[in-house]
Subunit: 333 residues, 2 copies
């Protein structure tokens, strides 16, 4: 194992977010399931967008949000994900590189446009995503640079990669390279409906040690084990993966491994404006804590801090320096 | 004079905003004059953008922001401005139509991309704009539909239109049609440096009654009359235009006509996050008050309310219903 050039390398669907405020009636009128991520085709994207109000745009993508957070804490980060060489792809590329993330995935020259997620933010701060994968679905194993993967201490993957047809092969290729180089592989389960689509595959990845670390929220954990019994699901998670981190919204998170379970409180916020990116930024803080080797409790606090930052404004990328925030709260950086 | 189909029709440079937080050192390092709008060419746009951090994108354009505000208060609004038929132009078109503004200007099929403003927001909330006009410079008199202009009670024009080479002809054409139909014409002076570029032309427009109403801030007024003596400048303004409205940041505004001068207080805000659009939204509220015929004081309060809303978040378009805000504050809607 050589010295790592990157602390965390993320692989995910590169998605540009188009965010708009909407009420619950809008979700109902358009058949949207609140809080979920629905995959939509181009025709549906056009129809949804047409119905939406004036929007704010910002780069997104689950793993990309996490990686930007990791970099913002001050760690060395890289990202792999596919945009098209179009105007939105150029905005996306700017944003991730401007966040000091190494990003070298070749943009698609033809085929569908850069992927977009049409995100409805309801007055309670919950976000409902309608994602047109676009160019993201063209991520293939050829986009995985073995030398770059080998040079990252942790490879972080999103469950959403199971949706595009070739990305899962890229995922498995990256995981194998990482393990061949004694690196760790982390996976976020992404979304309860995504878990519903790929439950057996995800359990397989855990049980055959393709992944070492699982990030999930309560709904995803419940979907994974098809039980509403949190403790039972957690016990199963501990059997299936070396390290499991389960977020529980305002109840904080639990960190579970063979040695035991650590509960970590959340950072309370005065008002939740937009939950988009909450899980992504939690993962950013936790991964940063892993990189710094600060233990489960402090890692969980770093995750909670980053999540608290991102839910207090529109959009899934941090607007306040996470490094400075951590210092203010006496957390390790 | 037939019954108006629109309360306010705005004509301006259609500009997509790319907003980023930056410190004063960044402005200094890149030779930017804080608080101003600088016109930049494509090469400079590329260089500025490359140096900028991760951004938030939102539709902008001075008159367009105003018109969106007018519509948000509940008036009937239309906009004329040129984008290209590219991805950013499509985002722009969506946003203004989704704000219930009639927008029918044909997008450019070729030529430069949709215009963008690279906006640096410093910690004090001040915004510094670097604008690449792009397709906006292709607005011509052919884009002015006489029937539409004739159908608007007030035509609202931005001084920035003097920058693109053909837009001033469109401006003059629109003004003539409006006056031929007994409509009012309002002009915002836009920016103190813009006034510096076109001082004589703007004074000419006022003195030959091409415009009936002037919106300006203190710096623009000082630039127009080349004096730091506010009272002297205001006295001159009253001679030159039927109605002058001068904003004074936290000191509120003054509304001046032949009958006298009315001072109107601002709405205090806890924290100024981003002044982008402050003047634009002030004009929106004031124009809405004019449309409703509520008098100078109430119009000024509506303007102050809209300005207060927009400076408390990133971006120049309202994020809270202005109509609901006005109702909460007991202002006429």
């Amino acid at each position: 194992m050589t010295t790592a050039q990157y602390d965390v390398l993320g692989i995910g669907n590169a998605i540009f977010d188009i965010l708009v405020q909407a009420d619950d009636a809008f979700l109902a009128a358009h058949g949207m399931t609140k809080g979920s991520m629905a995959l939509i085709d181009e025709a549906r994207a056009i129809a949804v967008y047409r119905a939406m109000g004036p929007a704010t745009e910002m780069s997104g993508g689950s793993a990309a949000n996490t990686i930007v957070g990791v970099a913002d804490f001050g760690a060395r980060a890289a990202y792999v994900g596919k945009v098209k060489d179009d105007q939105i792809g150029q905005l996306y590329t700017h944003d991730i590189r401007a966040a000091k993330v190494a990003y070298a995935t070749a943009p698609a020259k033809d085929g569908p446009a850069t992927g977009c997620s049409y995100i409805l933010v309801t007055p309670d701060g919950e976000r409902t995503m309608n994602t047109y994968l676009g160019a993201a679905q063209d991520l293939t194993p050829a986009d995985i640079d073995p030398a770059q993967i080998a040079a990252a201490s942790i490879v972080y993957l999103e469950g959403y990669l199971w949706d595009p047809k070739n990305a899962k092969d890229a995922f498995v290729k990256a995981s194998k390279i990482a393990h061949d180089n004694k690196r760790k592989v982390a996976l976020t389960l992404s979304d309860a409906f995504c878990v519903g689509r790929y439950r057996d595959e995800f359990l397989g990845l855990m049980r055959d040690n393709t992944v070492d670390v699982i990030f999930a929220n309560e709904a995803e954990l419940a979907s994974l084990y098809q039980t509403a019994d949190f403790e039972a699901a957690l016990a199963q998670l501990r059997k299936d993966v070396a390290l499991g981190v389960v977020t529980r919204s305002e109840k904080g998170c639990v960190v579970a491994d063979n040695a035991g379970v650590t509960a970590v409180p959340a950072f309370p916020v005065a008002k939740v404006t937009d939950t988009t990116g909450a899980g992504d930024l939690f993962a950013a803080g936790f991964l940063f804590g892993m990189v710094r080797g600060v233990g489960h409790h402090e890692s969980g606090r770093l995750g909670a801090l980053a999540a608290a930052e991102v839910i207090q404004h529109i959009g899934a990328r941090p607007q306040t320096s996470l490094k400075a925030l951590a210092q203010q709260h006496g957390l390790p950086v």
